[in-house]
């Protein structure tokens, strides 16, 4: 059986998580290739609709990685991002999806190890949850097609 390799989208703040990812790279700390990074000027720029569109396009999990609480370069962008992640969790819950498919993570620019560790942990969480319900449906349909 093919091993499930999830597609994960990480919205990373330019001032912290994105730099931390860079740091992980320069320190040769590897993190799962499943995580596709989208650099944003501040996590406050990430709206609920961006997270939803990632799911619509087939992401199995999405996380937003911003600065540590109180350390946002734009005062409270990361707090806003946290609320938006919670908003999407509510929507996913209403749809009967697992809320853990979306998460807010905080770190500073110097935390290369933490970036790699959280990327790994989130990937493992999503692997345990399995493919996004959208994909399950697609596969079901394909399998049916084969069977008939």
């Amino acid at each position: 059986m093919k091993i499930f390799e999830p597609e994960i989208v990480a919205f990373c703040c330019h001032y912290c998580a994105y730099t931390a990812a860079d740091m992980a790279g320069s320190k040769r700390i590897s993190y799962p290739a499943n995580v596709k990074i989208i650099r944003v000027p501040c996590t406050g720029k990430v709206d609920a609709i961006h997270i939803m569109k990632a799911f619509e396009k087939g992401a199995d999990g999405v996380y937003v990685a911003g600065c540590l609480q109180g350390d946002c370069h734009f005062k409270n962008g990361n707090t806003r991002a946290k609320y938006r992640v919670e908003q999407v969790q509510i929507i996913l819950g209403d749809l009967g999806w697992e809320k853990q498919r979306v998460a807010m993570i905080n770190m500073s620019a110097g935390m290369g190890e933490r970036f790699a560790r959280t990327a790994l942990e989130f990937t493992q969480t999503i692997k345990q949850l399995g493919p996004s319900p959208i994909k399950i449906t697609h596969t079901d349909i394909n399998q049916q097609a084969i069977r008939f």
């Binding site: 709206d47 799911f55 009967g96 319900p133 959208i134 079901d140």
Partner: protein
């Protein structure tokens, strides 16, 4: 403005599940300001509906349109070019908008996606409170700018009642007693005398007790 909140997703899905082509219509005014049914919320709801349908292996066409003012016939007209290509309309405007659309396009089912709540004002970012019940005969001029009809839980015209406690209403510790506010305000304005005058029973026909209300302005009518 008129405030609203999105309905539970399950209820919305129940309404629209039978249809394959839907127009999701927002409104650029009140419901945009209270973040219940503007362009942004239209996008978010459309996305949630897509996710749900995709999960069930269905692709439903959802056309997102946000009208300037859904309760105005001239803006409702803007859906004309889309209407033949749709099976149902889901509206994110307040009840006035939903009804305007339903009246104009009576050959198509029209469903509300929000619950219209009250006429209110924003007290701080993300918080709205009821301020007016449209009683048709405004009392604010004699109550120090604080409405007893909308903000006193018992709609008393000669309050406060015995339930007032330390400036709060008996219904909840975080709800101001409107009559306490009225008294404080009149005192600050040196208008205590006004408080002593007993207000007569209000004629609630103007408030809707006489049936649906209507405004006719001959100077504006065509």
């Amino acid at each position: 403005m008129i405030t609203a909140e999105q309905k539970p997703l399950n209820e919305i899905l129940d309404y629209i599940s039978p249809y394959d082509r839907i127009i999701l219509v927002g409104c650029n005014e009140c419901v945009t300001v209270c973040a219940a049914g503007g362009r942004k919320e239209v996008g978010l709801l459309a996305s949630a509906l897509h996710l749900n349908f995709l999960k069930h292996g269905r692709t439903v066409e959802i056309k997102e349109i946000t009208l300037e003012r859904q309760c105005d016939p001239e803006y409702a007209e803007e859906l004309v070019s889309e209407i033949d290509r749709t099976d149902a309309i889901l509206s994110m405007a307040c009840g006035c908008g939903v009804q305007t659309i339903a009246a104009r396009y009576n050959e198509k089912p029209v469903f509300p996606a929000v619950n219209t709540k009250f006429m209110g004002a924003s007290v701080s970012q993300g918080i709205w409170e009821e301020k007016c019940q449209g009683c048709g005969d405004c009392l604010l001029g004699i109550t120090g700018g604080i409405c007893p009809v909308a903000r006193c839980s018992k709609h008393l015209l000669n309050g406060p009642c015995g339930g007032t406690s330390k400036g709060m209403c008996e219904i909840a510790p975080d709800v101001d007693c409107a009559w306490c506010l009225i008294w404080e305000r009149l005192k600050a304005l040196g208008m205590e005398k006004r408080y002593e005058e007993i207000m007569e029973a209000k004629d609630f026909r103007a408030a809707g007790g006489g049936g649906p209300r209507r405004i006719i302005r001959k100077d504006l009518s065509l």
